[in-house]
């Protein structure tokens, strides 16, 4: 994805053709972010459009010192977190699992992970509890620090760390289960 500065300028000038071009160029990347934070593709598309509108409206604030991709990702994640906050009233119940079974070590899991395709990984992430899923996405994939995540999701740093650890463990278990079921079948 290579975004020209001219294209950004044209978008600032509200040229519809340029807006379309930008949308087309960034669609895949933005969708890959949205899909990780939402429950289904329709919801992801809806948030993608809202996020894209926010990107267009804030283009004047974009500074060329930072890569456009990074800036765009930041805006998109903010939109996703805002959307999550709006839905927070549903009062998500977080079940703290005190003891989880140690299945296999990371080495085995990593070997299995290499063989998995993206679709399978998405499916695994989606099986995580929503809050853990968000923390894992923000920390492991999008590179935010626990402090930032704590501010974004209105929790303590400790809780963020717990969610990350819990997510990893859950994913590990799920991958191990997948591997063992495949072995049994074969």
């Amino acid at each position: 994805m290579n975004i020209e500065l001219d294209l950004i300028t044209a978008c600032i000038n509200r040229e519809r053709r340029a807006e379309y071009e930008l949308y087309k160029l960034t669609y895949s990347y933005l969708m890959s972010i949205c899909i990780r934070y939402t429950n289904n593709k329709e919801e992801a598309e809806e948030i993608l459009n809202t996020g894209f509108l926010k990107i267009l409206n804030n283009l004047t604030k974009y500074r060329t010192e930072i890569p456009f991709k990074v800036w765009m990702r930041k805006v998109m994640i903010n939109v996703l977190i805002d959307s999550y906050r709006k839905e927070k009233t549903r009062n998500e119940q977080i079940k703290y699992v005190e003891n989880y079974i140690e299945t296999s070590d990371f080495a085995d899991v990593n070997n299995a992970l290499v063989k998995m395709n993206t679709e399978q990984i998405y499916r695994l992430i989606k099986q995580l509890p929503p809050m853990s899923q968000k923390v894992f996405n923000l920390y492991a994939i999008d590179g935010f620090a626990h402090k930032e995540i704590a501010e974004m999701l209105d929790m303590s740093e400790g809780t963020s760390k717990w969610h990350l650890s819990f997510s990893r463990q859950q994913l590990k278990e799920m991958i191990a289960k997948m591997v063992s079921s495949k072995t049994t079948v074969s």
Binding site: Y20, K24, S28, I35, L53, L56, L113, A140, R168
Partner: protein, 484 residues
């Protein structure tokens, strides 16, 4: 974080980054709709801001200008019969404006032309002192040698002069204006012997006031409610401004450079401006019309025209100038003709039977709640700024039904029905600026201009591409129910 954990994260990240999503054109259409809607909203907000800013600017310009003038007008109008001849005052030489009368400014003269000195160098506004002449003698304000009857007749004579400003005035002989001397044509008035204070006037219904309050200013610009013009024997008018409210029939006489007052009645000429304002609530019935500017859709003009308004309102006066208005009104938006809902029904039986129904909403009925802040320039004129909140009650639609079958001739029926509200905004907000003028005591006329912020018709429902706003002006008559 262990290396294995790090590897796990990195692996996941790289796997996820591999993902590709095919561009969906339909998704762009949705995004475009969002962009268009956002642009319209931004435009609307800009117009609303300009409108609001314009109103604020208008008020800022008008308030100081009209408010100041009207207060002078009001005061002079209400008291001109009895006291003030402003035109005359204007022609008189001015004395230093806004300057407290001091010993130096006011040089009372005795009969021999010599000036009396005042013992105090500075005038104390609130003090009422017994005034003494230079020689230490107490000032005698009552002319010696006159009976009470004579004095009363003299008082009436002066009063006649004062009350009829346009008649050829003659200086009352009894007023000893001839003794009044001035080098500079200025009223030479003995300070602290001029006018009774409010308190002294109240207490002394009859007779000449001996104790007096001080002059605050002798300056036409400083005219408040106490402008007095006193005519002397040489037909000169002496402008005198005092810091007290005069009561009806206050008689002013001049003797030996001393202006004296006499009270014949305590009935007030005008409202006492010093009286504290009492908060009040007024209820009114409003009725009138509004003219909606309307809008154009594909060269079809709609909604433009006159609609009726009626309702009730209440105004709470916080102060003499400021008040708040809250009301409830019925209003409508008629002359709609462009947008419609169409339904087709085709049934096959023995042959076919087709029914086409076209529903065209023509009138939208609203209940409006105006909330405004009022500013009264004076008793008769005022402006208000605020907003009307509109709620769509129902609609009136023209329903045309066209039926055609295999057998028989086509049939076309029209009827009117209420209640098709799909596609219309339920709420509307109209910032408004209004001017009110009182016609008679219980009736006022209001002129208002308003701008509707909401899009009346949902573009998606009617397949439209532009926003329709309910803008216009209204003229209403308000009957004051609280009037006694």
């Amino acid at each position: 974080m262990s290396t294995e954990e790090q590897n796990f994260d990195d692996l996941l990240k790289s796997k996820l980054n591999e993902s590709e999503f095919a561009f969906n054109e339909a998704n762009w259409d949705k995004a475009e709709q969002l962009i268009i809607r956002a642009e319209e909203k931004r435009k609307r907000r800009r117009i609303g801001f300009i409108f609001f800013f314009g109103m604020l600017l208008g008020i800022c310009i008008m308030i100081p200008f009209i408010g100041d003038k009207s207060s002078i007008d009001k005061n002079l109008r209400s008291e001109k019969e009895a006291l003030a001849y402003t035109n005359k005052i204007e022609t008189k030489p001015k004395i230093e404006s806004s300057k407290k009368v001091t010993e130096a400014d006011v040089k009372p003269m005795n009969k021999n032309g010599g000036s009396n000195s005042i013992s105090k160098s500075e005038v104390d506004k609130n003090s009422i002192k017994e005034v003494r002449k230079e020689d230490g003698e107490k000032t005698n304000l009552i002319e010696p040698g006159r009976t009470k009857k004579q004095k009363n007749s003299l008082a009436n004579e002066v009063l006649t002069q004062v009350k009829e400003p346009n008649t050829n005035r003659k200086a009352p002989q009894s007023v000893r204006g001839e003794d009044y001397k001035s080098e500079s044509n200025m009223p030479i008035i003995k300070e602290k012997e001029i006018i009774g204070s409010n308190e002294s006037i109240k207490n002394k219904k009859e007779g000449i006031i001996e104790k007096a309050n001080e002059i605050v200013s002798i300056n036409q610009e400083k005219t408040e409610s106490q402008a007095i013009s006193v005519q002397t024997s040489d037909s000169a008018n002496i402008p005198v401004l005092i810091n007290s409210s005069l009561k009806k029939d206050t008689v002013i006489t001049i003797k030996d450079s001393i202006i004296k007052t006499k009270i014949d009645s305590s009935k007030a000429i005008a409202l006492d401006t010093t009286k504290a304002f009492k908060k009040s609530t007024i209820f009114s019935i409003d009725a009138g019309v509004n003219y909606t500017f309307g809008w154009t859709n594909n060269s079809t003009k709609e909604a433009a025209g006159v609609n009726a308004i009626f309702g009730i309102s209440t105004t709470h006066q916080f102060s003499k100038k400021w008040g708040a208005l809250l009301g409830i009104q019925y209003t409508s938006l008629a002359h709609l003709n462009y947008s419609n809902f169409t339904s087709n029904n085709l049934q096959y039986d023995f042959g076919y039977n087709q029914t086409k129904t076209v529903i065209t909403p023509t009138i939208l009925y609203y209940v409006a709640v105006p909330i405004k802040l009022q500013y009264n320039f004076n008793e008769k004129n005022g402006i208000s700024i605020g907003a009307n909140f509109l709620y769509l009650l129902t609609t009136n639609s023209k329903v045309g039904s066209y039926t055609q079958g295999t057998f028989g001739s086509p049939n076309y029926k029209t009827s009117t029905k209420f209640g098709y509200m799909d596609g219309f905004a339920t709420w509307d907000l109209q910032p408004a600026l209004a001017y009110r003028r009182r016609i008679i005591k219980c009736l006022s006329i209001n002129a208002e201009i308003y701008y509707g912020l909401m899009d009346i018709k949902n573009n998606a429902a009617f397949g439209l591409a532009k926003s329709e706003h309910n803008n216009g002006f209204k003229i209403t008559l308000s009957y004051n129910l609280s009037h006694k």
